[in-house]
Amino acid sequence: MNTTAIITMVLAQGIVSLFTFYFFYKVLTIKPHQEPDSYSENDKESDRQ
């Protein structure tokens, strides 16, 4: 592979991966909203925003 191809690939895939993991990490770590929320599995949890 030539250098420009490697740079383009690493940059494109790096940017996309970075944003994907960042947003998904945010989803996983943000506290759920006050009940009743849209999701049924956390209905019994007490620690909320």
Partner: protein, 606 residues
């Protein structure tokens, strides 16, 4: 009156289901081919720009529109759109959001059934020792429903029906069933993709054979990612990028609205939308570019890839390439690849069932079971003709009109509704309400101006193609039933003629001058090289079809080459269009009945 109490189990489940809805076969097959054909690495620039100014805005529009409709107990586009304006017409625009899903699911389940069948054939070793041509022939035999590759009669139909039953059963369990499949399917899909991508990245020159001594996986990656910056000034490249973003995100279908309609008004949709959208991009840009192209280039060479890259590679080429890995690894790779495609397919086809189910539950108080099995029955009725007349082009009509045109039309109209009729002020409040991220303010103007303009451009540019499709300009045999058969064009312009090399009563082999693209490693450019190509016609003696040309004859497009009784593909294509039109009218009538019912029950808006 609505009886719906369905809800998503968890936020992660919703995002995985939404990402699964977007991730499809196109992520692995369409994206790399589009990149190869439109500027290589430079394609990523218009692609990512279109993602930011068209993809994400459309995701915001559809998520917020869905959640807004859900507030009023509406879970499918006809009445979601109806709540957003005073005009009575919008619920009929919303018909697209059910129509597209039924029509696409009808043929999509057929592709999905191929993946199940190919997993089975990979495990039992059907492809062991087969040549590249034999693997391609296997596929052609498989879709010829009269032929059986397993001993099961009408095998393709049986696998298709089994696939519909599986989808319908999961749908009958409601959102919980869909969420479970997404939670299992999406991680497995990513895992399978990573394993295959690592192989694609590390293949190098180890796949080169005597037949393809120059094969090198790095050449494939090099060609895919080397930016040809001059392509950025070509509007066609931008159009291709906009089209790819549009189709990869599953926008314009009505499924996103439906999933989002189960989100409560105070809960976030902005972060959900970008998270699911970027997850799709990860699968496409990272995994999609590292599997098909490098593996195919590693075994067959870059020239073969440039010449043949397309959707058919998934079933006609990949099983042959995996055989080169030998023994258990070949079985393993086959299961991973077709398993990956299966999960990509089923997470999308399940989403397609929900708008119809949501509508029937909202408007007619149908149970989950009844609405799911009625969806199964509908797609079976609509899909069987695509299975039976696949080779006659009926499948392609569904793919074009329902899977392409309908999406663009609906997305354009919903964007106009959101930005100008519902109003960007109210729309912006809907997007940002309950948001767990700060949505940049400039997106308000992008949604107002750039997104509709881009969509309008995609829409207008495709109109000449619609006309060509209706006029069947791709064939010289336009009559449905004919007594003569005419030679088709040898290439796109229709200017070239061919010479008859071989002829029998039911067979003609023609040769003609053609051009192919060849990669010049020294200059890094693609050269056009002339070569002698061949075209074969086969006729059916039982239908009195008989060739009327002789060896050495020059045959031009539209020249008569056989006589007998012919039922041309244009008949089946017309049939496909009429079936789609009937489906659209059928759903419109149901929407009208629902409207009368709402009026009677005084549930209608003022």
């Amino acid at each position: 009156m609505s009886v719906k109490v369905d809800s998503w189990g968890s936020r992660v489940g919703l995002i995985l289901a939404m990402a699964g809805n977007a991730v499809g076969l196109g992520n692995f097959l369409r994206f790399p081919v589009q990149a190869v054909q439109n500027g290589g690495g430079a394609f990523i620039i218009p692609y990512l720009i279109c993602f930011l100014v068209m993809g994400i805005p459309l995701l915001f529009i559809e998520w917020s529109t869905g959640r807004y409709g859900g507030k009023f107990g509406n879970h499918s586009t006809p009445y979601i759109l109806d709540t957003m304006s005073k005009g009575r017409i919008w619920k009929y625009v919303g018909v697209f959001g059910i129509f597209t899903n039924i029509a696409v699911a009808a043929y999509y389940c057929y592709i999905e059934s191929w993946t199940i069948s190919y997993v089975y054939h990979s495990i039992v070793g059907t492809f062991n020792g087969l040549s590249q041509g034999a693997v391609a022939d296997f596929f052609n035999n498989y879709i010829d429903i009269g032929t059986s590759t397993t001993g099961i009669p009408y095998e393709a139909v049986i696998f298709y029906i089994a696939c519909i039953i599986l989808n319908t059963y999961i749908l009958s369990k409601g959102l919980g069933g869909i969420e479970k499949v997404a939670k299992i399917g999406m991680p497995l899909l990513i895992l399978f993709g990573v394993v295959l991508a690592v192989k694609g990245l590390t293949l190098g020159t180890s796949g080169a054979s005597d037949l393809f001594p120059n094969a090198n996986a790095w050449d494939g990656l090099n060609f895919l990612w080397t930016p040809q910056f001059d392509s950025l000034t070509n509007p066609k490249v931008w159009l291709a990028a906009a089209g790819q973003i549009f189709f990869t995100l599953s926008v314009g279908m009505g499924t996103i609205h439906c999933y989002a309609a189960y989100v409560k008004p105070k809960d976030d949709i902005a972060l959900n939308a970008v998270s699911a959208g970027f997850m799709n991009e990860f699968v496409e840009v990272v995994l999609g570019s590292l599997i098909v192209i490098p593996i195919a280039a590693g075994y067959l060479g870059l020239d073969w890839v440039i010449q043949n890259a397309g959707f058919g590679m998934a079933f006609q080429t990949m099983p042959y390439l995996f055989q080169q890995w030998g023994g258990v690894l070949a079985v393993f790779a086959g299961v991973l690849w077709f398993g990956l495609l299966f999960f990509a397919g089923i997470t999308s086809s399940l989403a397609m069932g929900t708008p119809w189910m949501g509508f029937m539950q909202d408007e007619f108080s149908w149970s989950k079971n009844k609405s799911a099995w009625s969806f199964g029955a509908l797609i079976l009725a609509m899909g069987l003709p695509t299975v039976i007349f696949y080779k006659q082009g009926l499948f392609d009509q569904y793919d074009y009109w329902a899977g392409t045109v309908s999406l663009v039309v609906f997305a354009f109209l919903e964007t106009i509704l959101f930005s100008y009729i519902f109003g960007i002020k109210k729309g912006w409040i809907e997007i940002t309400s309950g948001a767990d991220i700060k949505v940049p303010g400039f997106y308000k103007y992008i949604i107002l101006i750039i997104t509709p303009a881009l969509l309008g451009w995609v829409l207008v540019s495709s109109i000449p193609d619609w006309i060509d499709k209706v006029k069947d300009t791709d064939t010289n045999n336009k009559e449905w039933f004919a007594e003569n058969y005419y030679a088709e064009n040898f290439e796109a312009s229709g200017a070239k003629a061919g010479t008859v090399d071989e002829v029998k009563d039911d067979y003609i082999l023609l040769s003609f001058e053609n051009q192919k693209k060849v990669f010049d490693k020294a200059s890094g450019k693609v050269d056009i090289v002339p070569f002698i190509d061949h075209k074969i016609y086969k006729f059916d003696l039982s239908k009195n079809q008989k060739t009327i040309v002789n060896i050495g004859d020059t045959v031009a497009p539209k020249d008569k080459i056989a006589t007998g009784d012919f039922t041309n593909d244009t008949f089946y294509k017309f049939l496909g269009r009429m079936l789609l039109l009937s489906l659209f009218l059928f759903i419109s009538i149901i929407v009208a009945i629902a409207y009368r019912k709402r009026t009677k029950e005084e549930r209608i808006k003022l």
